[in-house]
C-alpha cells in the first residue's frame, strides 16, 4: 500500500499493529482503506464499527469515527448508528467467529432488514485472538485447539447464508486476490442496502500451524489455488469444485427497499396521521 495512504488514513501513533507476521488482516484493512480512498469520502463521514477479535482491532488503527465494541455485537451498534445518522458511511469489521458464531443472529437480521451497512468479514477460519479454537467457518476435518481430533461440524458458506437471509449484495475475495478484494469492497460500499464481503484471510499462527499449511506464502498460494473467479466457477463441474470456492460479486439485487429509507416512510405515515 502506498505510504501516502497510510499517512492519510491510519492514526498516527497507533502502529505497529498487533497482528502476527504473515497474518492477512492487514491486507484486508488496507483494501478497505483503498476502497474508501477511491470513493473520495471525507474521513468525518465514515464510521468503522467492529466487534472483538484480531480482525476487530482494525478499527483502532484507522482515522475515522471508530468503535471496537463487544464480541459479536458490532452489527446492532452499527445499525443504531446508521438509523440515527443515515448520512454516515458505516462499515462493519468482523471476524468469522465474531460474525457467524456469537453474532450470527445479528447477521441474519441485519441482512433481512437490508440496512445500508457494509460488512467485511475477515475469515481466517479460526478464532485467532483466543489462540486457535474452531469457528463456524473452520473447514470440517480441520484441527483446532478445541478439536484435537479434527472438527466434525460443517462450515458455513457465508455469502449464501447472508443472501438467503436477505442481503442484497454478497461477495468474496482473498488476501491473495487483492485487487479483486478492493473492487468488491468498493462495490459493496456503493451498494445501497446490506452488503457482505467475505475476505478470506490467513492465520499462520493459529490455523496454519495446527493444519500444517506451511509458511504464510504457502497459505497465500492455497488461496490462489482454491479461490476461483465466478466466471470460471460457473463452468466447473461439481467434482472440479470440490474444496474450492467462488470469488467475485456473488449476488446483487436492487428490488428491496433499504431500511433507513423505508423508515422515513414510516415517519411520513405517522406524521400524516397526526
Amino acid at each position: 500500500m502506498k505510504e501516502e495512504l497510510v499517512e492519510k488514513y491510519f492514526r498516527p501513533g497507533r502502529l505497529p499493529h498487533l497482528w502476527c507476521p504473515g497474518c492477512g488482516h492487514g491486507i484486508i484493512t488496507g483494501a478497505i482503506v483503498q476502497a474508501i480512498d477511491q470513493e473520495g469520502w471525507s474521513k468525518d463521514d465514515v464510521a468503522i464499527i467492529s466487534g472483538i477479535g484480531c480482525s476487530s482491532r482494525a478499527s483502532g488503527y484507522l482515522d475515522f469515527n471508530t468503535a471496537n465494541t463487544l464480541h459479536g455485537r458490532a452489527l446492532p451498534i452499527a445499525s443504531g448508528l446508521k438509523m440515527a445518522n443515515p448520512k454516515l458511511h458505516v462499515i462493519v469489521v468482523s471476524g468469522d467467529g465474531d460474525c457467524t458464531a456469537i453474532g450470527g443472529n445479528h447477521l441474519i437480521h441485519a441482512a433481512r432488514r437490508n440496512i445500508d451497512l457494509t460488512l467485511v468479514v475477515f475469515n481466517n477460519s479460526i478464532y485467532g485472538m483466543t489462540g486457535g479454537q474452531y469457528s463456524p467457518m473452520t473447514p470440517v476435518g480441520s484441527k483446532a485447539t478445541t478439536a484435537p481430533y479434527m472438527t466434525i461440524e460443517e462450515d458455513f458458506d457465508l455469502p449464501s447464508l447472508a443472501q438467503a437471509a436477505g442481503a442484497t449484495y454478497t461477495a468474496r475475495a482473498t488476501t491473495y486476490h487483492t485487487q479483486l478484494l478492493i473492487d468488491v469492497i468498493k462495490k459493496g460500499m456503493e451498494h445501497k442496502g446490506f452488503s457482505l464481503i467475505e475476505a478470506v484471510s490467513a492465520c499462520p499462527t493459529n490455523f496454519g500451524r495446527q493444519n500444517k499449511m506451511g509458511a504464510p506464502a504457502l497459505m497465500m498460494d492455497w488461496q490462489r489455488q482454491h479461490g476461483v473467479p465466478l466466471a470460471a466457477w460457473n463452468k466447473m463441474t461439481e467434482e472440479q469444485r470440490a474444496g474450492k470456492f467462488p470469488i467475485g460479486v456473488l449476488s446483487e439485487r436492487t428490488d428491496r427497499k433499504e431500511y433507513t429509507e423505508a423508515y422515513d416512510e414510516v415517519i411520513a405515515r405517522a406524521q400524516a396521521a397526526l
Partner: protein
C-alpha cells in the same frame, strides 16, 4: 394548565422520554414492559424519531448505544430475562461512557418467573449485573406522575454524567393507571443537551476531563471529531491502555464522577418523618403500601414515617446513616427476600434494630399486613 389524563405507568415513561428529547428506541417486547415498546413505536415517528424492534435484547441495547454515538438520545425497556441479556452491553456503556436509559420493569424471577406479578428482585442486579467493578445510577418511581418525571430525570442524569441510567420499575407502577397532568406541549420542557467539545478536532481527547467535572465532552460521530470507542481499559485518548496506573486512573474517574456529585444524584422522599420515632424504608411500587400503613399507624398514635429512596444506586448511605441517629428502629419493606435491606443494615451498622418485611409471593403487601409489621417493630409503642 396542561391536560389531565388517566394513564398507565408504562405510557408515562413513553411520554417522559419523548418530552426529554429521546429520539431512538431499540428493544424486544416482554411483559410487563411491552407497552413502552408499543408506545415508542407509535410516538417516535410522530416526532421524527425512530423505533427498532430488534432480534433480541442485546441488539436493542446495542442499537441504543449506536444511536447515542451519533448524538441521538436513546432508550430501551425490558423485564428480567431481557435485562439479564443486556448486561454485557450495559458494561460497555459504563466503560465507554455512552449515555442511555434502560428501563427494567421487574417481574418475579429468576428465569421466566412470573411475568405479570410484582417483584423487586432485580435490585442487586441493577447494581452488580454486569461484570467488573462499575458504577451506575438507578432510580425507581412509585407513581404514574413520577414515571414521567423520573424518565426525564434519567435522561438528564445519563447525559450529565455520561453513563447508563436504569429506571427500575415494577409491575405495580408499570401497569397501574393513575391521574397525571401533562403539559399541552413539550416544547418548553428542558431537553438536556449533551456537553460537546469546544476545542478544535485535532486537540480533542475523547476521555479527557477538560472542566473538572470528570465528565469529558462527547462529540457525535460524524461531527468532525474523529475518536475511538473501546470497551478495553483505555486512557484519556480512548485507546486501549492496560497498565496498572492507566487502569486505576480510569476506574477512579469512572467512580468519582458519580460519587463526587451524590448531592445531585441521590434523591429521597421523607413522608411524615418530622417527629418520627420509627422509620419504614421502602421504594418503587412497594412504597405505595407504606404510605397507607404509615397513615394507619399514625391514626393509632404510632410515631412512624416513611423514608423513600428515589435513587436506589448509588446508595443513600449518608441519609440512611443519619436516619439511624434519629429513629429507634427501621423496618425495610421490599418485594424480594431482602436486597436493599442488606445495604441499610450495613449503613446503620448495628446502631438501631433493622428489620425486614419481605414479600416475595407474587403479591404486594396490604397496609393492614404492614401495620402489623410496624407494630412488631415498635413493640406496640404508642405516644
Amino acid at each position: 394548565m396542561g391536560k389531565v389524563l388517566l394513564m398507565q405507568g408504562n405510557s408515562a415513561v413513553v411520554e417522559g422520554a419523548i418530552s426529554a428529547g429521546v429520539r431512538f428506541y431499540g428493544g424486544y417486547p416482554i411483559t410487563p414492559s411491552t407497552e413502552i415498546a408499543e408506545g415508542m413505536a407509535k410516538r417516535l415517528p410522530e416526532v421524527g424519531g425512530k423505533f427498532m424492534q430488534t432480534e433480541d435484547e442485546l441488539a436493542g441495547m446495542g442499537a441504543v448505544i449506536g444511536a447515542s454515538l451519533a448524538g441521538v438520545k436513546g432508550m430501551t425497556a425490558t423485564s428480567g430475562p431481557g435485562f439479564s441479556l443486556k448486561q454485557e452491553m450495559l458494561g460497555l456503556a459504563c466503560s465507554a461512557e455512552i449515555p442511555c436509559v434502560v428501563v427494567d420493569v421487574q417481574r418475579v424471577g429468576p428465569a421466566t418467573g412470573q411475568p405479570t406479578s410484582p417483584s423487586q428482585g432485580d435490585v442487586m442486579q441493577t447494581r452488580w449485573g454486569t461484570h467488573g467493578d462499575h458504577w451506575v445510577i438507578v432510580v425507581s418511581p412509585t407513581s404514574v406522575p413520577e414515571c414521567f418525571d423520573l424518565t426525564r430525570r434519567a435522561v438528564e442524569l445519563s447525559e450529565t454524567y455520561r453513563c447508563p441510567v436504569i429506571l427500575l420499575m415494577d409491575e405495580i407502577v408499570g401497569h397501574m393507571r393513575e391521574r397525571i397532568e401533562l403539559p399541552e406541549s413539550y416544547d418548553d420542557l428542558p431537553k438536556f443537551p449533551r456537553k460537546v467539545p469546544s476545542c478544535a478536532p485535532e486537540d480533542y481527547l475523547a476521555y479527557r476531563d477538560v472542566d473538572g467535572t470528570k465528565v469529558p465532552p462527547m462529540a457525535p460521530f460524524g461531527s468532525g471529531y474523529r475518536w475511538h470507542v473501546s470497551g478495553l481499559v483505555h486512557d484519556e485518548t480512548g485507546f486501549p491502555k492496560g497498565t496498572p496506573s492507566a487502569t486505576r486512573t480510569s476506574q477512579d474517574r469512572l467512580r468519582t464522577k458519580l460519587t463526587d456529585r451524590l448531592d445531585d444524584i441521590i434523591m429521597t422522599e421523607s413522608y411524615r418523618m418530622e417527629d418520627a420515632e420509627y422509620a419504614v424504608i421502602s421504594y418503587g411500587g412497594a412504597a405505595r403500601t407504606a404510605y397507607d400503613a404509615v397513615d394507619a399507624a399514625r391514626e393509632q398514635g404510632i410515631k412512624v414515617g416513611l423514608f423513600r429512596p428515589v435513587t436506589i444506586w448509588p446508595f443513600a448511605e449518608k441519609e440512611i446513616a443519619g436516619l439511624s441517629s434519629k429513629v429507634k428502629g427501621i423496618l425495610v419493606h421490599e418485594l424480594n427476600c431482602g436486597q436493599y435491606f442488606l445495604e441499610v443494615e450495613r449503613a446503620v451498622h448495628g446502631k438501631i434494630p433493622v428489620t425486614l418485611y419481605a414479600k416475595y409471593d407474587n403479591e404486594s403487601a396490604s397496609p393492614e399486613e404492614m401495620l402489623e409489621e410496624i407494630k412488631k417493630m415498635t413493640g406496640g409503642a404508642q405516644a
